[in-house]
């Protein structure tokens, strides 16, 4: 019988292979959790590298020039060259830093990102852990990144890094509120926090997605998208790592592989915010079939549909970066507390009233049972 859980499916598969049933049970269970985690980790790192390449190419196209095109065919091996170079650099730890915090900070930022990856529904059965509090887990885990930024800012013993770290902390904690509130708008409609069930309660057609359910979820999608830009320190909310003002902010004293971890975590965060937005609002990976009971062909189609929704959102993130100027810190915080939080509260309240008035039906959407 097909389990509705990816690690369980892998466990049954491993038991089915002869010769492996002699291995004690807990090792097989561990392996069936480790295999999808490692695969997803590796995949997200690869996607993060591709996003660095995509950013350089897209920024070059917007600025009338050509990005990297000499390294491989069309410059595709550029990310490999960057990665190898960063590994080979000398690892500088300045004298006056707080050594434990300095070394720990990139790992905490990286772990915050990677923990969030485990609940992203990649379409079909491919979700590492289908927690029944999946959405809350993501919001909680992205707060871990704040701790990492504060640590790196403080430990660098550098006034610009400290300023960058503090501003980053203020910005991220402020913008978590509208992000969470706009996600909860969808929870009112779906009735569950589990990511896979949220995806499954939408439908395959655009008018079945939650974004078109009522006008307030439409606004909530944009609020969530912009707040997630602010959470990942991305222009126009780039103040903590502003190149022209703060000489790279909290990144200043990091070189080599530690810097590479920050860099990769930033681009992996772009991918994760785009996938959450696609899964929750745009019905990522739903083609109307049950993800666990269908054949492998349909499951791959689901994954493709999911990526067809995530990739344009990532490109929009990169596009926004090269369009808008940077907001000042007071403008950024006033925008959050004076505009976004009231608007997201209003969306939440109005969605609740809509659900009461219309019995849960959307504009194009009919509640199934």
């Amino acid at each position: 019988m097909i389990q509705h859980n990816l690690p369980d499916m892998i466990y049954k598969f491993l038991l089915g292979i002869s010769g492996l049933s002699a291995i004690p049970d807990f090792l097989l269970v561990t392996a069936s959790y480790l295999i999808p985690s490692a695969a997803v980790l590796g995949f997200v790192m690869f996607v993060s590298g591709m996003l660095t390449y995509a950013e350089r190419k897209v920024s070059a196209d917007i600025q009338n020039r050509i990005g990297p095109n000499r390294v491989g065919p069309f410059g595709l091996l550029q990310m490999l060259a960057d990665g190898v170079k960063l590994i080979l650099k000398e690892d500088i730890i300045p004298d006056a830093v707080d050594r434990k915090l300095f070394k720990l900070a990139p790992y905490i930022v990286f772990s915050g990102t990677m923990l969030a990856v485990t609940v992203v529904p990649f379409g079909g059965p491919f979700i590492v852990a289908d927690l029944n509090i999946g959405l809350v887990f993501i919001i909680v885990v992205s707060s871990l990144i704040v701790v990492g930024f504060l640590m790196s800012g403080w430990a660098s013993n550098n006034k610009w890094a400290l300023l960058g770290g503090i501003r980053s902390a203020a910005q991220i904690i402020s913008y978590e509120i509208p992000a969470a509130l706009s996600l909860f708008t969808v929870v009112l409609i779906a009735g569950t926090f589990s990511m896979q069930k949220i995806v499954m309660s939408q439908g395959p057609y655009p008018w079945d997605w939650f974004i078109f359910h009522n006008p307030f979820t439409f606004v909530a999608f944009f609020i969530f998208f912009i707040s997630s830009l602010a959470e990942i320190n991305r222009l126009p909310f780039d103040f903590p790592e502003a190149e022209s003002e703060l000489v790279s902010g909290y990144n200043v004293e990091y070189s080599g592989m530690r810097f590479a971890l920050f860099f990769l975590a930033e681009f992996a965060n772009i991918f994760i915010s785009a996938s959450i937005a696609a899964a929750v609002f745009l019905g990522g990976g739903n083609i109307g079939l049950d993800p666990y009971e269908s054949g492998i062909g349909f499951q791959l189609v689901m994954v493709l549909i999911f990526f067809a929704k995530v990739v344009p959102l990532c490109l929009v993130t990169i596009w926004i970066r090269w369009t808008l100027p940077r907001l000042r810190i007071d403008q950024m915080l006033s925008m959050c507390w004076k505009y976004f939080i009231p608007m997201s509260f209003a969306c939440l309240a109005m969605t609740a009233i809509w659900m009461l008035v219309f019995n849960g039906n959307g504009i194009f959407w009919r509640m199934n049972g």
Binding site: R65, I66, K85, E90, I92, N251
Partner: protein
């Protein structure tokens, strides 16, 4: 005794074979991703900005600009180095992470250039830093700076990274 049985050559294959191939691969990766520090001091800095701009694009070679010396490999000294600026320049060079390179751009960075006879100008940046590539011009064209970067890439590709003792 080993020589007598001619076992030296067979037992000890060229130890440098694998390391040379690895060296080539690593150098290729390092040469294609040279990130430079924005070190614009005077008029050559304008040409540096233009080389990073649309017409003469340095990003094709994988060169990004970074604002902090910790994350850059290359310092392009573009402009006149005065006595007041020299200790700060040396400090920035010391803060860069190994392996690091320097291009002296323009005649002022080569040898003091036009201001050679002045009392407050350092007569060439190689008096305070080790320079890898010299680039003449006042200011050098973007294509000349691109060629200097290519020459630097060739120098990096020939470096013995893992086989240091030869």
């Amino acid at each position: 005794m080993l020589e007598r049985f001619n076992m030296v050559n067979r037992l000890d294959p060229d130890p440098a074979f694998i390391l040379t191939r690895l060296d080539t691969a690593l150098n290729l990766a390092r040469a294609n991703s040279v990130w430079y520090l924005l070190m614009g001091l005077a008029c050559c800095a304008i040409e540096l900005m233009q080389t990073g701009g649309p017409r003469g694009d340095l990003d094709r070679f994988g060169s990004l600009f970074r604002a902090t010396p910790r994350q850059s490999d290359l310092m392009i000294v573009a402009g006149t180095v005065t006595h007041k600026m020299a200790p700060r320049l040396r400090r920035l060079y010391d803060q860069m992470a190994e392996p690091k390179y320097v291009i002296a751009m323009g005649s002022c960075a080569n040898c003091g250039g036009l201001f050679n006879l002045s009392y407050s100008v350092v007569k060439g940046v190689d008096k305070i830093l080790p320079v890898d590539v010299y680039l003449p011009g006042c200011p050098p064209r973007p294509e000349a700076l691109t060629e200097a970067l290519i020459k630097l890439q060739e120098k990096i590709k020939k470096e013995k990274y893992l086989l240091k003792k030869d």
